[in-house]
Amino acid sequence: MKTTPDNSGDVRLSGISKTYGSFTAVHPLDLTVPEGSFFALLGASGCGKTTTLRMIAGLEEPTTGTVRLGDQDVTHLPPYKRPVNTVFQSYALFPHLDIFENVAFGLRRRGIKSVKKQVEEMLELVQLGEQARKKPHQLSGGQQQRVAVARALINHPKVLLLDEPLGALDLKLRRQMQLELKRIQTEVGITFVHVTHDQEEAMTMADTVAVMNGGRVEQLGSPADLYENPQSTFVANFLGTSNLIEAEVDTKNGDDLVLKAGGGKLVLPEARCSAPTTAGGKVLVGIRPEKISLTHADDAGEIPAGRNRLTGKIADASFIGVSTQYVIDSPVCDELAVYVQNVERDGRLVPGADVVLHWNPAHTFGLDAAQDIDAGTEEEVAA
């Protein structure tokens, strides 16, 4: 079913924006989704990701800018004329039609007479062959979700848009459907644009993720790239957890920056710092919790040289099976998170113990200190 890449499945947004009265839902935005990719728009609710998706679908008219599919300008085409289909949030299946007719809807509207074979094949693809004559309300949430995907995919759209398609499912089913959707996408080779607020979902499924915040794309890249090299505090906090430490640029040492934080020094590769790095300037030093190792203060001498070090006291420890999550009270930051794999557990690492945190400087990243340090954290997003 794979089509030859002629770029007709590219989605090109140039300068599109959407304002409602005085509220700007989406600031002028340029985005290219290459054909055949699985693209995720990730962000908290109200960040403009759904509005962006709806502008691609034709359900919202952009205030400015153009939407192109391949070389075709579709900005002013109504949805029923666009070669694009949508999997709606909570599915929007037609309650008066059975599963077969729901899936056949798009084909019939385009005047295709013999739909039986195609519909049956599509129901097979989503493993719902047995349910063809049931009504949507007789199916479980996961099954309804698959009908919604089948109903959209059967039309062989150039782009499939998914608006929080897994939001209504419970956690276990969501994991299963993530893999299922990924499998279907690989099988049919259609461009998927997926809107979600779940960073894990975006990272599991997408080739490219655009993190949106306040109507703008904050950062765009592969999941690993976003996770390892966040360019803003929002991305650093919204994707996983980051420890952000305020520091001051001291000197440059080759490709590395030496920073002063609290009483100690930290090393940061200059290439991994997105902030201006003049001496005396402030930066936020970031490090992911799982990159940090914990050593009891008594064994501090055994830590190899050349690693970044911080001292602190264990404030809290929670055992969660594969790892133990520590909260460390340190002079530079009172709530540092550290995740330690439960391979060889040190019995002395209990709340109250003095510890040394250390990590490979290559894992450190630097951010502009002018930003809100809490942007994108759970508390901030919920507020």
């Binding site: 109504p78 949805p79 029923y80 709606f88 949030q89 509207r109 009504k135």
Partner: protein
């Protein structure tokens, strides 16, 4: 933790405490039913039985009536008044269709397009109920009067020639013609059509329209394939709420019609109150009831609304 390890509370001591509560609870539904049931028995069931017995009585006002199981009254009544029956059904059907044609767009507008005007329009739809049915119908006498605006307009557009030819009007008049009666019925029962239509349209998830559009349905196709089928419960209850009272109505035919537009309601009224032939009037009432019941049953079966969610 302790709740898990402890044995479940012994059942024996709990049971005697629970019993009286249960016994009281067992009768609660019946107590709740009682007022409504009493009302129905006194004001519906008893009069029905009385009517039924009247319909098979014979006699006269002077000598008194006696139950003689004279079922021939039914056949005689039907034989004498079948044209009025037919007229009632056709007038009611015409009014129902008109109500649907006028009411559907309005209900659609209120449900999907009215925005902040929604409540105002709803109030306007219900507003006529604040005036008496009789007064409203009398007002239509003025509206359709021989020298009124409506007749003038129809005349100047030569539409009266058309309605004359169709047999809906006669001469240069609208008043005292079938058209006037149907207009009155339509006007009086329109809210009964709009309200259920609005309720069922309003319940339709707006995303279904978006989904239909996304799946290549043009707006009109979306209406035909999604909106209208989903509004069927409203269409069915609206047409029933219009048709049933319209078929038995006599006020519109009395005030806006003539002797040529008499509906079965007028016949029953005359038989009861002027001719004082109670058995015939009762028999006619039962025939009307049975006919409507049969038509409604058939209609509901055919429209298949039980299949809708």
């Amino acid at each position: 933790m302790s709740t898990l390890t402890e044995a479940p509370p012994p059942l024996a001591p709990a049971t005697p405490e629970k019993k009286p509560a249960r016994r009281r609870g067992r009768f609660t539904p019946y107590w709740l039913l009682l007022p409504g049931m009493l009302w129905l028995i006194v004001f519906f069931a008893l009069p029905m039985i009385y009517q039924a017995s009247t319909s098979v009585q014979q006699g006269s006002l002077e000598e008194g009536y006696k139950v003689t199981w004279h079922f021939a009254t039914y056949w005689d009544a039907l034989a004498a008044y079948w044209p009025q029956f037919l007229r009632s059904v056709s007038y009611a059907a015409a009014a129902t269709v008109l109500c649907l044609l006028l009411g559907y767009p309005l209900a659609y507008l209120i449900a999907f397009r009215a925005g902040r005007w929604k409540n105002l329009i709803m109030i306007l739809v219900i507003a006529p109920f604040f005036t008496s049915f009789l007064i409203r119908t009398l007002a239509w006498k003025t509206i359709l009067a021989d020298n009124g605006v409506v007749v003038h307009t129809l005349n100047s557009l030569h539409l009266l020639d058309l309605t004359n030819w169709l047999g809906w009007t006669a001469g240069d008049r609208v008043l005292a013609t079938p058209l006037a009666v149907v207009c009155g019925l339509t006007y009086n029962f329109l809210p009964f059509m709009i309200l259920p239509l609005y309720t069922s349209l309003e319940r339709i998830d707006g995303r279904l329209h978006e989904a239909a559009g996304d799946l290549y349905a043009r707006p009109w196709t979306t209406f035909r394939k999604v909106t209208f089928p989903l509004s069927m419960p409203g269409v069915v209850s609206g047409t029933l709420l219009t048709f049933i009272p319209a078929a038995g109505d006599y006020v519109n035919a009395e005030l806006l019609g003539s002797t040529d537009t008499r509906m079965i309601g007028n016949v029953i009224q005359t038989q009861f109150l002027r001719i004082l032939d109670y058995p015939t009037a009762a028999a006619l009432s039962f025939i009307l009831m049975a006919a409507i019941l049969a038509m409604v049953t058939l209609y509901i079966r055919r429209s298949g609304t039980e299949d809708l969610v």
